[in-house]
Structures are given as C-alpha cells and as structure tokens.
C-alpha cells in the first residue's frame, strides 16, 4: 500500500511542477492594454505591405454546417479566407458553453490568432472572452447580441473584443407581424426561442407587435433547446386541436429543421391557407410553401453577415483594425413574400455556390490590401444589402 500511495503522490507532485510551469498564463492577461499600444504601432508597420506580412490563421466555432445557415456560413467564410489569404480552422457541433470553450482552447493551441464564433449562449461569450483575454487573442462574435448586462459590460471592456453583429430583430418582427395582419389574420400561435437565448428579443418583440396590430396570441411554445424537431410536431398538433380559430403562426426561429417540420405538420392537419406562417429564417421547401399558400413571409438572408465579421476580425488580427474599441454591426433582413422572390432568394442568397461579396469586395475592406479601407465602407456595404442589390451585383 505504501509503495502505491507513494507512487501516486510522486505522480501528483510531478504534475503540479509541470502545471506550475505555466502558472503565469493568467497573469499575462494584465498586459492587454500594452497589446493595444502594440496594435497601434503595428498598424503603421503593416499598412499596404501585403508581401511581407505573415499568413494569419483564424479559428471559427459554429454550431454546424448541415442546415441552410450553417452551410452558407461555412461556404462564405471559406471563400473569404481564401480571398484574404488566411488559414481557417473550424470547430463544429458544439452545443453547450463548455464545449465551445474547449474548442476555443484547442483552436488557440492550434495557432489561431483570432476567433470568430457564434455563441451558444451568454455564458459562452463570457468564457471565450475571458480565455481570449488571457491569451491575447482577438475575438469577434457573429449573429448574436449579449442579453446579460453583466456579461455584456465585461465583454465590452475586454480589449480583445473586436465586436459583434446581429440582425435588426425588432424591426423585422414588426414587419413580419404586419405582413400577417395585412392578410386579415389576427389570431396567432407564437413559436418562441428559449428565454436565455440571445434571440429572445424576438419573443417580446412579437408580443409587442401583436398588440400593435390588435391581434391575439392564443398559444405559444418554446423551441426545444436540444435541437430535436420532433417536439414541433406535438406543438403544432396541440395548437390545431385546441385552437381551431387560429389563423397564423409567428415563429421566432425555424433553423435546424424546425421550419420544415412545422410546415409538414400543418400540411397533414389543416387545409392549405387555413393557418399561415411568418417566420425568421428560411428552410427547405419554402418554394412549395409559398406556392401552396402556407407561407406569408419569411425573414432571412442574414448568414452573409459572417463575412463583415470575418473582415473586422481579420483587420484586428493583422494589427490594422477598422475601428478603435469594439464595433457592433447591424445586418438587414431580406423579406420574402412570394414565389418569385423566393426563387430569386434561392438562386442568389440561399446558395452557397454564389458568393454575395466577391473576393475583390472583401479585399477592398482589408487594410492590408486597401490601406484606405474604413469602417464606414463596411457599414455602407452592409446597409446596401437587399434582394435587389444582390441581384444587381451578381449581374455586374
């Protein structure tokens, strides 16, 4: 017994000594402001000096690439990385904050100089933000705002926080409800996202917008947080059976197969058009949905915002940030209200083969390639985003 215990104690002692070797890694976080100064110096040194600069590596943490949005993000970012001559490393399929943190740790160990991620919740923002600060790594979020005020303040104070982007949710929610009300549909079922979700603003925005059009919310459900779609079948069956007067569904999210499941369930339960849908996100089968009268309007096309996010991060990593401090970017939604728009959307936007921002445009916003690039240029580009702009741009 003594020998074995002695062996274990020795092993522990060796491990302690090994770990102690890196005991200062946390302390180094205190040097962050200095890194900001270095950033300013590097700005002058690197500007317009593409040939001498090193090839950067950026890590991206995304929930997956199997649905429409994930596939688009994957394609757009790989293309943007190629355009900017950046190595990109992916971490996919993390569905909780702890796994996202583990991916961040592994990506930084793999040599990534910046992290772009779509946080699963506010805790993930806090964890990854702290980790990046400790390791002096720039990080940018995409598609998400921070709900928790404490985490938001801490993140905004983090010198390595480049920024985030998210869609104009409240305006889009009002627009979607108005589309439904214009058809004379005022009795709604509402599909909500979990309250801790960073998209939960859509829940309250739908409640407000329904009041504004003098509508009534008969029932609501909260989307399952485990990614399973089977629960939607039960929700819709309950809606239809319990509220035969319901004539519209206002859905805060239809990603991960939710939209397809809900529409298929409706098709099996009621006559076409008896209950119509307005929803965030686009999904497989939306063409048939508009053609057969199941859909009133969809708000989507926001996957492309990952490209401005990537450009922001790239400039920061390249020590030529487009802005001092953090930046919050807003992404327009594109509304699809009929089959024709749906086809155009499918051809130009919901098509990972078609790049909305071409390589030349992407490079023009990176100071390494265009020293005159500014944040305003990026914002203007984002503001011009619409179905018409995309079609016109594709024709050039």
């Amino acid at each position: 017994m003594k020998k074995k215990l002695a062996a274990i104690v020795t092993a522990i002692a060796v491990t302690v000594v090994s770990l102690a070797g890196c005991g200062n890694s946390t302390e180094s976080s205190g040097s962050a402001p200095a890194a900001e100064t270095e950033k300013a110096e590097g700005e002058t040194a690197n500007s317009g000096n593409a040939e001498e600069a090193v090839r950067h590596k950026i890590g991206v943490i995304l929930y997956g690439k199997d649905d429409s949005m994930g596939a688009a993000d994957y394609a757009y970012l790989n293309y943007a990385a190629e355009a900017l001559e950046v190595d990109i490393q992916w971490a996919l399929n993390d569905y909780d904050a702890e796994s996202q943190l583990a991916s961040a740790e592994n990506l930084v160990s793999a040599g990534c100089e910046g992290l772009l991620f779509l946080p699963i919740n506010d805790n993930a923002v806090s964890l990854i933000g702290d980790y990046c600060q400790q390791n002096e790594i720039y990080f940018q979020m995409m598609n998400r705002d921070i709900s928790d005020n404490t985490i938001k303040e801490a993140t905004q104070a983090n010198p390595y926080y480049v920024g985030t982007s998210f869609e104009a949710n409240e305006a889009a929610t009002n627009e979607l409800t108005n589309f439904m009300a214009e058809e004379g549909r005022l009795k709604y079922g509402v599909g909500k996202v979990p309250p801790g979700s960073s998209l939960s603003v859509r829940n309250t925005a739908f409640e407000e917008s329904v009041k504004a059009v003098n509508g009534t919310i008969l029932a609501d459900y909260t989307a399952p947080s485990d990614g399973s779609t089977q629960a939607y079948v039960t929700y819709i069956e309950n809606f239809v059976n319990s509220y035969p007067e319901m004539d519209g569904l206002l859905l805060s999210s239809t990603t991960g197969g939710g939209g397809e499941t809900i529409m298929n369930t409706l098709q099996s339960l009621v006559e076409p058009g008896a209950i119509k849908i307005v929803a965030f996100d686009t999904f497989e089968g939306m063409e048939e949905g508009f053609e057969d009268g199941w859909l009133t309007a969809l708000a989507g096309g926001i996957a492309v915002q990952c490209v401005p996010d990537f450009i922001m991060l790239y400039n920061a990593v390249d020590k030529t940030p487009l802005a001092e401090g953090y930046t919050v970017l807003y992404q327009n939604f594109i509304f699809i209200t009929n089959l024709e728009e749906c086809s155009t959307f499918a051809q130009y936007i919901d098509n990972p083969e078609h790049m909305i921002y071409d390589a030349e445009t992407i490079r023009s916003l990176a100071k390494r390639y265009n020293p005159d690039a500014t944040l305003d240029d990026l914002v203007n580009l984002m503001e011009s985003y619409s179905l018409g702009w995309v079609v016109d741009n594709a024709g050039q």
């Binding site: 770990l19 699963i120 928790d148 404490t150």
Partner: protein, 332 residues
C-alpha cells in the same frame, strides 16, 4: 476472510502445461495491460512530433487537463459501479439535475450552498438508481437511463425558466488549479476506498463472481448501493465543476457525460465486466487518451466532421486489442 479470496485470473494450464507456455501467456497478458499506457505514450509522441511543438506547450496540456477533469471526477465514482459489473447511464442526467439544483438554490439563497446541494442531489440520484436496481430489480442501466432522461428534461425545462449564470465572484475558480485540486482530492479518496476498503474490495469481488461473494457472506446489495452512492457523490462534484467550467448551467449541461466516462474507462483498460482486474488508474489514463486525441486532431487541423469518425475507429481498435474474449470484458 473474504478479502483474501482474490480472483486470480492466471491462465489455467493443463497438467502438462510447460513453464514456457505459462510465460507466453503471462507476456500476452502483460502486453494487454500495457496497451492503454502504450496508447497514451503513442499519442503523446505522435502529437508532440507532428504539431510544431504546440501539443507539448504547457498551456495546451493545461487545456487537455481542464477538458478531461470533469470526466475524470465522474469516472472515479463510476468505477465503483462498473467494478461490480454494472453500467451507470445516469451520469449525464444526474449531473444536469445536480447542476440545476445547485445553481437555482444557490441563486435563491446563497451560492455557498451550490457545492453541498450538487453533492447531495448527485448522491440522491445515485441512491435512487441503486433503489430501482436493487429493490425494484430493474437492470441498473435501465434505472440509470430513467435518471438520465429525467435529468435532461429538468435541465431543459429549467433553461426555459431561469437564467442560470455563474456569478462573477466564482469565476476565480475557472483555472487549472481548481480542476487539479478537485481531481486530486476525489481521485485519492476514491483510490483509497477502491483499493483498501471493503467498498472497493467487495464491489470487485461481486464483479468477479457474485455467487461466491454471496456465499462468502458479503452483503451484496449494501455494497452495490454504496457503489452507486459514491458514483452519485462524484457526479455531484462533476456537476459543480461543470457549473464552474461552463460559466453556469445550460440546456445541454451533462450531455454525453456517461458516454465520455464509459469511453474513458474502456480506453483506460477498465474491464467492462468489473471484477478484480478493475483499476482506478484506468479512468485517468482513459480520460487523458480521449481528450488528447480530440485535442491532437484539432491541432492537426483535421476536419471536425471527421474527428468523431477517427475517435470511433481508435476506440474500436483499442477495444479489439484489449477485450478479454473469455469473459466479455476488457482486460487491464
């Protein structure tokens, strides 16, 4: 004395069995025992020499340890259950349940209650599983599954109702030393219990041959229940670590914990049928192999969709090499 009845698993040789044959079999057994350690060594050498030194950076080794710590802690307790030839599928659900209870009660009263509540709820889950298994005679893996589903449901329901974020004050614990201290304390305590007390010895004896244990006067049910209680306690500790590591509790807290623990124990050479060959070190070796593999593949830049496939293949190879086809268990 029952304790003296060690289940020697030396090969049974015929009357004419030569010393040479005995040595060959002993060597084969030794080789099988060495597989988990060799696997760990191979991974270390492989990733050390192919990642431009990134793998051996202390920060990266800290990351691996931090990522593996929860599995190590949950696995030490689970070893007791596995040693008496049962599988505990309640781990993830019990972890979720403990974490939700800990943070919700902590938020309502005081966060000082978080750890005791996690431990108490974890232990309670273990005892419920034991009760279902022993008193209601439900197979342990099915009883565990009930807890797993209940825990998952509770976590997802709670996520819809509460914002379960760890207060800033507790973030000071988000460092390697905290994980290291918890793993060390839990492992050392469990090691002593496992190797030098009746709880460990009787559970291994039950795993080796339950009839013999019963005939020898071992109160089988009592010691099985104690094994589940120990497992529940360590799951409670893992839940607390999970809250710290995850910055709070989410809908997916505890997901895949049982799978990861089972993988770690198997990769570490823990016999699936329990018994006297069960060794506590398996959980440490196995968890390190599991998370080193994941880390190393990411350092290589392997497509994340392929990583799970590779892990599956490695798992199969290790099981193929180490499985004791005579008893259906994995040799250590």
């Amino acid at each position: 004395m029952v304790i003296e009845m060690k289940m020697k698993e030396a090969p049974v040789l015929g009357a004419k069995g030569s010393k040479k044959e005995s040595n060959v079999l002993k060597n084969a057994e030794w080789a099988k025992k060495a597989v988990p350690f060799l696997g760990l060594l191979v991974l270390v050498l492989l990733f050390s020499t192919t990642t431009d030194g990134r793998f051996l950076k202390v920060a990266n080794l800290q990351n691996i340890f931090s990522q593996a710590a929860i599995v190590m802690v949950a696995g030490t307790g689970c070893s007791f259950v596995m040693s008496h030839n049962n599988l505990d599928f309640s781990l993830g659900g019990a972890c979720a349940m403990s974490a939700v209870a800990g943070i919700v009660i902590g938020a309502k009263f005081s966060y000082a209650w978080m750890l005791p509540v996690c431990l108490a709820v974890g232990m309670m889950c273990g005892l419920v599983t034991a009760g279902l298994h022993i008193k209601a005679r439900i197979p342990a893996f099915m009883a565990g599954m009930c807890i797993m589903f209940a825990g998952r449901g509770l976590a997802q329901g709670a996520y819809l109702q509460f914002v379960m974020t760890l207060p800033q004050d507790y973030k000071v614990l988000q460092n390697i030393w905290f994980y290291f201290a918890v793993v060390t304390i839990i492992f050392l305590t469990a090691y002593i219990l496992f190797e030098y007390t009746k709880i460990g010895k009787y559970n291994k004896l039950i795993g080796s041959n339950m009839q013999v244990a019963k005939l020898s006067g071992v109160p089988v049910n009592k010691y099985k229940a104690m094994a589940f209680a120990v497992s529940g306690f360590t799951v409670g500790a893992a839940a607390f670590m999970s809250i710290i590591r995850g910055g709070g509790v989410g809908a997916q807290t505890g997901t895949n914990l049982e799978t990861n623990v089972l993988l770690a124990l198997t990769l570490g050479g823990f016999p699936l049928t329990g018994g006297s060959q069960a060794k506590m070190r398996s959980v440490i070796v196995g968890a390190l192999v599991l998370f080193m593999l994941n880390n190393g593949l990411q350092l290589w830049g392997v497509d994340p969709t392929i990583i799970n496939v590779i892990k599956g293949i490695v798992f199969l190879v290790v099981v193929y090499i180490t499985i004791d086809r005579g008893s259906g268990g994995v040799m250590i």
